[in-house]
């Protein structure tokens, strides 16, 4: 592995941490398993590429965010107003967005940005040109992190976070949880779409299939981050999620370096998430086995009590 692959992994990790923060909002703070992500990620990329082709690369990020937020709000409405199960609501959106994304891209499965100004071109010709992706992505991430952190510390942010913990309490304390879910899913899918947009600018194209597996990548980042870096305070947790996304990218890069074909990536991702999700159970089983062993070694069993 050379320095360039490392840098590229870091860049992608930083961009994907937007997806991870989005997953963190839906999966953790709302406790809502949201599959809309697969569609809103591609939607963000598609919208952003089209707006960029029209000559507005920076505005395209905002457009992508808004488009993703709208998608998320529809999932929220399906689930809260029409009582469609969260997973199913997400699947419906994912399916519907496939057609919409094709329409956005002018009925093409693939649209490229080659020879167009993109968000990373701002540093072109300057001394830091080699790091333009790294710098731009880090700036965007920093802005998102700061805004999101302070938002989650407001009154509105508090009830949003409490919704996933205990929606009964949130309602009992006078807040409509239908609204907090709507807000949270909009925010979450907005971030996911922003991520899709920034990836499209990085790889210089949007592709109809690029969202496949994004739910899993988002979750993997959240879980890896939490396991490795802790969840003590909100800020620490958010930074952990970001680091989780970067670590995930590094793992993938290393796996590829070892000669694993790129087509096996999705399988690897699935396995990583399965392992990460089962960590608590495995830990518990191991502790139990340890106690059992210690107990038996101690001689007397507790069967009589």
């Amino acid at each position: 592995m050379n320095i360039y692959t490392l840098q590229s992994a870091l860049e992608l990790g930083i961009i994907y941490s937007l997806l991870a923060l989005g997953s963190f909002i839906s999966y953790r703070t709302l406790n809502f398993p949201d599959l809309t992500v697969e569609g809103s990620y591609t939607l963000g990329a598609a919208v952003s590429v089209m707006v960029t082709l029209a000559g507005y690369p920076y505005l395209s990020l905002l457009a992508a965010f808004v488009a993703g937020a709208v998608a998320g709000s529809i999932t929220a409405l399906l689930s809260t107003r029409l009582k469609i199960q969260p997973l199913l609501a997400g699947i419906l959106l994912m399916l519907g967005l496939y057609s919409i994304n094709l329409k956005v891209m002018g009925n093409r499965a693939n649209v490229n940005l080659i020879n167009h100004r993109n968000i990373y071109s701002i540093f072109e010709g300057t001394i830091v040109e080699g790091f333009q992706t790294l710098i731009t992505a880090s700036l965007v991430l920093a802005v998102v992190l700061i805004i999101l952190y302070f938002f989650l510390k407001t009154r509105l942010g508090f009830v949003l976070r409490a919704t996933g913990d205990n929606h009964v309490m949130v309602r009992a304390l006078g807040t409509n949880t239908d609204f907090t879910i709507l807000l949270g899913l909009s925010l979450s899918n907005g971030l996911v779409a922003l991520c899709g947009a920034m990836i499209a600018h990085e790889q210089l194209f949007a592709d109809i299939g690029m969202g496949i597996g994004m739910v899993v990548i988002g979750l993997a980042s959240v879980i890896i981050g939490e396991v490795l870096f802790g969840t003590n305070t909100l800020l620490r947790r958010m930074i952990a999620v970001i680091l989780g996304a970067i670590v995930y990218r590094l793992i993938i890069t290393i796996v590829l370096e070892f000669g694993m074909p790129a087509t096996d990536l999705k399988l690897i991702s699935a396995i990583i998430v399965a392992v990460a999700l089962s960590m608590p159970v495995i830990k518990e089983k191991m502790e139990l086995a340890g106690r059992k062993k210690a107990n038996l070694r101690g001689g007397r069993s507790n069967a009589g009590n």
């Binding site: 938002f151 510390k153 407001t154 009154r155 509105l156 942010g157 508090f158 009830v159 976070r161 409490a162 996933g164 913990d165 205990n166 009964v168 309490m169 949130v170 309602r171 009992a172 304390l173 006078g174 807040t175 409509n176 949880t177």
Partner: protein
């Protein structure tokens, strides 16, 4: 204050499992009245509170709180006026947020949920004072997650959260039933203190007849979705647990006989 006019609540109407949980029940509470509610299992006590809180919508009748018709008001709206403590301590708090953040959410109950900071410095001081009143040492643990404190502690906290903004009505559904006796007693005392001090109109369900007579200013007994006994003042003061049980036996039996008459016709 609270006016319940002939409400009825039927579950699974029309099916073989049809159950009339509340049957033509009327009740009026005065401002500041503290009512204890007793009755056998399935009498409809919880259903009554759930109807008032807006978790269930009644099939017939009206519920007015302070002149406001709350019969069809969604729970999240009527909860602006009503505080509820559930039996399950987990139901009253957000376990993954800190003690201070939980209190802050409760404190913002009647305020707009906007982009103002969730907690201010001045709030912290007030939270600390409030917490020191319940004497569980929580005032020094403001920044710890609620998941780290015990069930009894979080229940006491819920009580605090539900009264930090004075509600027009406080509903307690066997809120101490899941606690061990020592903590239960403490939380009960705390309940009495807070209700008395703030003069909150309160309805408290309990299975403990002694508690029912000891606390509050009025006791009602429910059976098969109706109020079969309603005592206060002198009559209540002279009531003992034994005479209450006797009375309940008589009343409930009376109903049973009525049923028989109906069946034999």
């Amino acid at each position: 204050m609270l006016e319940i006019r002939s409400i009825k609540k039927v579950f699974e109407a029309g099916s073989i499992n049809e159950k009339i949980a509340i049957n033509n029940l009327s009740l009026t509470l005065e401002e500041g009245e503290f009512v204890t509610i007793i009755g056998d299992n399935g009498a409809g006590k919880s259903t009554l509170l759930n109807c008032i809180a807006g978790e269930y919508i009644v099939d017939e009748g009206r519920i007015l709180l302070d002149g406001i018709d709350i019969t069809y008001m969604p729970e999240y709206k009527s909860s602006q006026y009503i505080g509820r403590v559930f039996q399950d301590p987990l139901k009253g708090t957000a376990y993954d947020m800190t003690i201070a953040e939980n209190l802050a959410i409760a404190y913002a109950k009647d305020k707009p949920k906007n982009l103002q900071p969730g907690i201010r410095k001045s709030d912290i001081k007030m939270f600390r004072e409030k917490l020191s009143l319940i004497q569980l040492g929580l005032e020094d643990r403001l920044n710890q997650k609620v998941s780290l404190i015990s069930g009894g502690q979080s229940l006491a906290m819920t009580l605090l959260m539900d009264t930090i903004v004075k509600p027009k009505l406080l509903l307690l559904d066997e809120h101490i039933a899941a606690l061990d006796p020592k903590i239960a007693k403490k939380v009960l005392q705390l309940t009495g203190e807070i209700v008395e001090k703030e003069k909150i109109t309160t309805m408290m369900i309990t299975h403990n007849m002694k508690v029912a007579l000891e606390y509050g200013s009025r006791t009602i007994m429910m059976h098969e979705g109706q109020i079969i006994l309603d005592i206060k003042g002198e009559e209540r003061e002279e009531m003992t647990v034994e005479s209450l049980i006797n009375l309940f036996g008589k009343k409930a039996k009376h109903d049973l006989e009525n049923d028989r008459i109906l069946l034999s016709r």
